[in-house]
Symmetry: C2
Subunit: 93 residues, 2 copies
């Protein structure tokens, strides 16, 4: 499942970089809801984004890739907070 999602994301990213259309953004929005349903954590979205961008534009300078590594670290706290809240919500149900 995750591999299908990754290749879908890469396709949407490629299209968005090419066209920057509202339709591409909407496709991203739909996919992000699927990510949430599949419990894909925010730090995993950033990793997937980094990998997809590397697959499409591997020639980009090092600072781009380093910058994503810091962003992944930032999002780990968000992922943790998500999981904590989710377990509280599940207890409530």
């Amino acid at each position: 499942m995750v591999q299908i999602i990754e290749s879908q994301y890469k396709e949407i990213l490629a299209q968005y970089i090419r066209e920057q259309s509202e339709q591409n953004l909407y496709a991203g929005q739909i996919l992000s809801r699927q990510f949430l349903q599949e419990n894909v954590q925010p730090e995993e979205v950033i990793s997937m984004h980094k990998a997809a961008l590397a697959g499409l534009h591997g020639e980009l300078p090092d600072e781009v890739w380093h910058s994503f590594d810091l962003l992944i670290e930032m999002m780990i706290s968000y992922g943790m907070a998500n999981r904590e809240r989710q377990s509280l919500v599940q207890k409530q149900e």
Copy 2:
């Protein structure tokens, strides 16, 4: 407050791009917890990251900036899910 946080983030990003040290990552981790406490949403973290990177390396190619715009869109769903869960948790308290 947000402006202080933004300039702190830019400083950490600059250092991380330069050094890629564990210490820089740790500084990012601490700041991300502060972001959470301040209710900074994940899509706002990506916007801040994009702005900080643009301030440091404005010469990067267009595909980098477009790619961040898609990532911001992806994170909006995560921000919404966060807020929903948070309001459920608050009701529970």
